[in-house]
């Protein structure tokens, strides 16, 4: 057991930290972390940030050097996330391009596809989204009905996607569509396309969330067009391309865990500052008990992650154990936000400009419902863990 950081790793951290200090948007480190509200300005702000990361060589550190990356080690990726969470860096508008589509194309794209997309992904000229879920294919993703039919040398695509994050900004979409149908094995016959979002057949419509935000979209495909050259991997074998793609996003959950830890520390601060009956919340014995319990669980989930990371480092790929991280972090995030709201008492209902206490807790609470649903509901996660990690029998209907 060894929690020390190598000299190289420490140097990496310091290099990133000092680059950030010089390159973050003006005033960021002094606490001015407001992003533009208006969509175009928001998008431009984040594209500018992505461009800056690219110029500094920090856009895609895990990519091979030949494609503009740094060949970063897993530990360097972890450090990268830690630092970004530490200073609440602006979000990465091309998260999907950088962490998923890019690595997938590098690994299994055609030369033409690499040529066409890789550089633009890096710079943020091409912002990507993913077209997976559909109204009738949520947890049961293999049930997608969006279909692609070959006409001449074109694929004509029709259907509807939903919960498409970054769809409102995206230039390109990594799209799953049905190209044939196997009654027994629904996940066969799905093909992965690189779809241009700027064409007449593609229309996006924002989804208003319960927290008032609009981070997801419906995407309507009406005779949208792609070519053979836009197919990733083999025809009808898009399912495995998607699985490989998701595996490329190997450290995203780490960022969520570091965020959880940071929020817990914020919670402690709030409980120290906020008073009820003339004493700080943190002096109330009931709250101390609950907070001690949360401390253990936040610690524990982070340590689980490090343990799973160790396995990945040793065997070169993640073990089945790592499937627990997403379930744990999303459920715990929700529970912690719920608790943070509760202890604010009646003042906790005040919202937006009228809030007396930082309403990040309220926002987190509402947003957390998305976390236990999106990217595989907690129920689906439990099935996966039960079946893959524990070897329990497959569920009904799967």
């Amino acid at each position: 057991m060894d929690f020390t950081i190598t000299k190289n790793e420490e140097a990496f951290r310091l290099e990133l930290r000092s680059w950030l200090e010089e390159n973050l948007p003006p005033g960021w480190l002094d606490g001015n972390k407001e992003l533009p509200k208006e969509k175009e300005a928001y998008s431009q702000f984040l594209r500018d940030w992505q461009r800056k990361l690219y110029e500094g060589g920090w856009a895609a550190i895990a990519w091979p050097k030949e494609y503009g990356g740094r060949d970063a080690t897993l530990m360097e990726e972890i450090i990268y996330h830690q630092e970004m969470v530490r200073i609440d860096a602006p979000p990465l508008i091309n998260y999907i391009g950088i962490h998923m589509v890019g690595p997938t194309l590098i690994q299994s794209g055609t030369e033409e596809q690499k040529e066409k997309h890789i550089q633009k992904i890096l710079t943020g000229e091409e912002v990507w989204c993913q077209g997976y879920s559909e109204p009738n294919a949520g947890s049961d993703l293999a049930a997608i009905q969006t279909n692609a039919v070959k006409e001449g040398d074109k694929w004509i695509i029709n259907g509807q996607k939903v919960w498409t994050s970054f769809g409102q900004f995206a230039d390109k979409c990594f799209l799953l569509a049905r190209t044939s149908y196997d009654r027994e094995k629904k996940h066969r016959g799905i093909t992965a396309f690189l779809l241009d979002m700027h064409q007449p057949g593609v229309e996006t419509k924002p989804i208003i969330q319960m927290d008032g935000k609009q981070e997801f979209n419906e995407v309507y495909l009406t005779d949208a067009i792609a070519s053979d050259a836009d197919i990733v991997g083999e025809l009808d074998k898009g399912w495995r391309v998607m699985i490989a793609l998701m595996l490329h996003e190997r450290t995203g959950i780490g960022a969520e865990l570091f965020t959880l830890e940071k929020r817990f520390n914020d919670l402690v601060e709030m409980a120290k500052e906020h008073e009820v009956n003339g004493q700080p919340l943190l002096k109330d014995s009931f709250i101390r008990q609950k907070m001690a319990g949360l401390y253990a669980r936040v610690r524990g989930s982070l340590l689980n992650y490090y343990r799973n990371l160790t396995i990945t480092l040793k065997q070169g790929h993640p073990g089945a154990e790592s499937s627990i991280d997403k379930l744990v972090v999303s459920e715990l995030t929700k529970e912690m936000a719920a608790f943070a709201m509760s202890i604010q008492g009646h003042q906790g209902v005040l919202w937006k400009e009228n809030a007396l206490i930082d309403t990040r807790w309220q926002e987190n609470f509402l947003a957390s419902f998305g976390q236990t649903i999106g990217g595989g509901t907690s129920e689906v996660q439990r099935n996966t863990i039960g079946e893959r990690l524990l070897g329990l029998p497959k569920d009904l209907g799967r």
């Binding site: 008492g345 009228n354 419902f369 649903i373 439990r382």
Partner: protein, 377 residues
Amino acid sequence: MDFALSEEQEMFRGYLRKYLDDAGQTKLAREYSKGKTDELRKTLQGLSALGATGINIPEEYGGLELGTLDLVPVFEEMGRTLLPGCYLETMGFAVPLIKKYGTKAQKEKYLPEIAAGTRSITLGVIEPKTDFSPNAIQCYARKEGDDLVLNGTKTLIPDGDIVDTYLLLVRTEEGSGKTGLSFVFVDHPDGAQMQLQKCIDESKHLAELTFEEITIPKERQLGEEGQGWSILEEGLLYLNAALSSMMVGGMEKVVDMATEYAKIREQFGQPIGRFQAIKHRIVDMKLELETARSLSYYANWALESEEQEREATIYSARSFATNAFIEVASHNIQIHGGIGFSEEIDCHLFLKRARYYESYLGSVNYYNEQIASGLGW
């Protein structure tokens, strides 16, 4: 032994449900969030015509002179549709206190208008940046001849913008603690400055009222001078019995939504209600609902009884329903999956309402402590 609402009460519920269904259920709450109140006012008048605003008001003041249990169907049905407004505070707090402590003039002024649906009353207890305790009440009513001169601020006043009268807890003697507190009525045009406050539950409008040398006649005082806190405690018995019914109504709708969705939504070729993770969770939600309902019925019954453990009975209904409402509303979102996270579906409205009520005039811990002390522990 007859532990159920009467046939008449259930029949009345039927009328109310039909009426509120026709009015678009949560549509009114959604419009209210956007500041539109026309439909709402019409609906409230319609409910009044159905008798909802006269139930616990004596006949001599134009009411139906029925019991607190007769209010239960109204609270539940309003909870079910998240109907905006101060029916809870008016019928579940002001009316019983006016009946008990009001002067003849006060009764004559307020009760007939309440019964007719032309006046609603809200509550101003909390002050900015303070907790729910006697010491936190610092709004001061100075005596000047036959008048009281108000200075101070009341915050988090429910639906303060559409209401006609505020029942305020103020300090009539300087100092701290429970002594020296009194209730006073302040009618809308009495000159206070109002500022609206955004609420996480947007179908609740909150208001902050600031009083600077606002003069009201002394006869606006409700009950004996200096007895404000114990009048509040009496009122909280009524309010919390009523509130627990309101929450039960919301929970019922939430459990219905989850159940119906689980029957029709298919994934993996199965209605999701066939999966035990969903099915068993809905069953647990149903248990929470039924337990909350039993407690709330009994709480409302206990209001008019000699029930020994009256406080503990009522506060246990409040405390249990508070947690249970949050829990079932949260599960309902998860069961709905993606669509449950969208603004379009009502799931989130119930969760936000549940959280709004969580610490309304006392947190769950506060009421648990009241149960304990009420039982002599």
